[in-house]
């Protein structure tokens, strides 16, 4: 089991009436009204402090991602932050999940920067290559929705070839044309750093992961409890491709809040959770899913699903007034409570969904540095040890972990594929 401290790098002070006053947390929220560069100076330093603390506390990996013009996270250049972490003497993985590669032209830039971080860190890089979210690719970076996936596949091909083919070689793509591909440096890890995919549950991405034997991470804020059918869709693809059921094929992002007792957790974190869920989910459908981003098949599939489900699934309602029980039990978006409660729920959840890479989100938007450190410390002290080795004890090996990130590396209990793996 690998546990990754994942930092969203959001803006911590949004006005209380944000979601009433502005149409979206993403793309159109006016920077001049809401984003004070002096505050960002403070937050960025807190973010990096917290990532460095996670390294010291023994998390297996440090997680970063990329978003733009977004208040719940504006990690506009994850490679810049990652390079600060890469400079530290450490054996933790640097999990960049990832660079949104359709946005880069030429995508050779990503091959170069990832190689640079892999070299600087001594082979500790996870090279996340996500398709990205439409608000970023379509809204912020102006790609026609129908081109995002095509650009993605081409950028992926260029990056992998840049790392693995003998250069210089020509690359004649539809979107990128290069006469000489010959990156300096290439990564330390051979043939290249582990490639992780991430997404919000599109069938195309599951299939692409299975086609290439990559690991897939489901990134949402909806929690382990609601993800069963979603993750099962991925595992069905894995099985259909004749691949094994190694849990390290799957990653999952989970919001986690820990305190000494369940009641204390509610007292400390409920305001932050309400704040986060009322603001971060505030993206209108026309920004979330512009025409052309989903394939015709996917649209038809979701419409038909809507028919089957009766088109009236009860939702959380107004997150600003959601109760602790709503968030942690009824809808289960959050894993929260005492270390005992949290460890038990996480263990159940990751076993149920077969998650090998758990990305824990311990800094939730409005939480200040002090409360974040408290949450992280308690998690690392009381919860992390319970998760460590969870799958390794059953004989599973993580083939998708960077070779230079040796922290807590455990030999599998046996050299055999476990019976439980064969039974599936």
């Amino acid at each position: 089991m690998k546990t990754i401290f994942f930092h969203m790098q959001g803006y911590r002070d949004l006005p209380d009436d944000f979601h009433k006053k502005y149409e979206s947390v993403w793309v159109t929220l006016p920077s001049d009204e809401l984003c004070d560069p002096r505050m960002v100076q403070k937050y960025l330093n807190w973010n990096i402090d917290e990532l460095e603390l996670a390294d010291e506390l023994g998390f297996d990996g440090l997680g970063l991602n990329e978003h733009h013009q977004n208040a719940y996270g504006f990690p506009v250049a994850p490679n810049l932050i990652a390079s600060i972490l890469a400079r530290r003497k450490s054996d933790a993985a640097i999990v960049i999940l990832g660079n949104t590669i359709p946005l880069y032209n030429p995508p050779l830039r990503v091959a170069e920067e990832y190689a640079l971080i892999d070299c600087l860190s001594g082979g500790r890089l996870v090279a996340g290559l996500p398709v990205g979210s439409p608000p970023d690719s379509v809204g912020n970076y102006g790609l026609p929705p129908s081109q995002v996936r095509e650009r993605y596949y081409e950028a992926w091909r260029l990056i992998v070839e840049a790392w693995t083919r003998k250069g210089p070689f020509p690359f004649n793509g539809r979107f990128t044309k290069l006469r000489y591909v010959n990156p300096w440096p290439k990564p330390i890890q051979k043939p290249h750093p582990p490639i992780w995919l991430a997404g919000g549950g599109s069938v195309e991405t599951w299939k692409f992961a299975a086609d290439n034997d990559y690991t897939y991470s489901y990134l949402s804020f909806s929690g382990l409890k609601q993800a069963k059918s979603m993750m099962q869709g991925y595992w069905d693809q894995v099985e259909a491709h004749g691949l094994d059921d190694n849990p390290f094929r799957a990653g999952f992002a989970q919001i986690v809040v820990v305190a000494d007792t369940d009641a204390e957790a509610e007292r400390l974190y409920l305001p932050h959770l309400r704040n986060f869920y009322s603001k971060s989910l505030h993206v209108p459908p026309y920004i979330q899913a512009p025409p052309g981003f989903l394939s015709k098949k996917s649209i038809e599939f979701s419409l038909n699903q809507g028919v089957q489900r009766g088109q009236g699934r009860k939702l959380l309602g107004d997150p600003a007034t959601a109760s602790w029980k709503d968030l942690t039990e009824t809808y289960g978006m959050v894993v929260g409570g005492s270390p005992q409660t949290v460890a038990q729920q996480l263990e159940e959840g990751v076993r149920d969904l077969r998650i090998g890479h758990l990305m824990v989100i311990l800094q939730i938007q409005s939480m200040d540095n002090e409360l974040t450190r408290y949450n992280m410390g308690l998690f690392a002290d009381k919860v992390l040890p319970r998760l460590r080795g969870l799958w390794e004890r059953e004989g599973y090996q993580d083939h998708w972990w960077p070779s230079g990130a040796a922290r807590n590396r455990q030999a599998p209990a046996t050299g055999q594929v476990p019976a439980t793996a064969l039974a599936k």
Binding site: P145, I287, K296
Partner: protein
């Protein structure tokens, strides 16, 4: 403008295009000299304007590439690719010279077509066309808006009986889902060529248009403001501007009689 389905008069002619593309289902109706109509943002439909034009012309209304299956857009990168595709359709129909009418995105394409193949277009009508850009009056984004706001931008009104009737979805669930998918894929096929800024260098080509051109504009167009009419007019050799008072980006919806009358007068030999 209500959608008039007149199956006795309108037929669909499937034009084969090869290269693995679907046939283009061209709507054809009426008798008279040939007229090609390129539709706007709401997608291909035989509407009141086409019904009216078909009284004096044989009207051909093609769909756009990828409008049914966005996967086909892989074969298209630029507006130029789409104009060449349209020429394949038009040649497939056996048309030599013809009148060309285009609305909104279809107006942009009509202007592109008339600039690329000036000798083929007898007269050109551009209804509230996209295709140019002014920093002092940017074209409005009609995608990052609520459905009501989008209807308001395109039709000028969202809650009138006529608008509701035009936008209504079928009750029956299969037909309803099919119509939802059609609207999404149709808009996707437009955005493929113009998102995020519907300007692709047309200004450099307008001087090539040889056909006498009518610029027909809704006075209250909230997507492409009236000011653009003068920019088109000053770049096209022979043109006239017709403003439809009080009308929106889709003046044929707001004042069908006035629009039909002005186009017919302009096209009269």
């Amino acid at each position: 403008m209500s959608t008039v389905i007149a199956p006795t008069a309108v037929a669909t002619t499937a034009v084969a295009l090869g290269r693995g593309l679907q046939d283009n289902p061209v709507l054809v109706g009426g008798t008279g000299s040939p007229l090609v109509y390129l539709h706007g943002l709401s997608g291909q439909a035989w509407d009141g304007l086409l019904e009216g034009l078909s009284r004096e012309h044989r009207v051909y209304a093609p769909a756009f590439a990828g409008a049914d299956e966005p996967d086909e857009l892989k074969a298209f990168d630029t507006v130029h690719d789409l104009v060449v595709y349209l020429d394949d359709v038009i040649r497939g129909l056996g048309l030599d010279t013809f009148d060309l009418v285009g609305h909104s995105f279809g107006g942009m394409l009509a202007a592109e077509y008339a600039a690329l193949f000036p000798e083929r277009v007898r007269k050109l009508v551009l209804i509230d066309p996209l295709g140019l850009w002014r920093d002092d009056a940017p074209v409005t984004d009609f995608i990052y808006v609520t459905p009501d706001r989008q209807a308001e931008l395109i039709l000028g009104e969202a809650d009138s009986d006529a608008a509701r009737k035009l936008l209504a979805l079928p009750d029956e669930i299969t037909a309803k889902n099919r119509e939802i998918v059609r609207r999404i894929t149709s808009m996707a096929s437009v955005l493929h060529f113009i998102w995020p800024i519907p300007e692709r260098g047309l200004a450099k080509r307008l001087h090539r248009i040889a056909a006498p051109t009518q610029l027909l504009w809704g006075e209250q167009d909230k997507i492409v403001p009236c000011a653009y009419a003068r920019d088109f007019a000053s770049a096209i050799r022979t043109s006239e501007i017709e403003i439809v008072p009080g009308a929106s980006h889709t003046p044929q919806f707001n004042d069908p009689a006035a629009v039909l009358d002005r186009i017919q007068r302009f096209l009269a030999p």
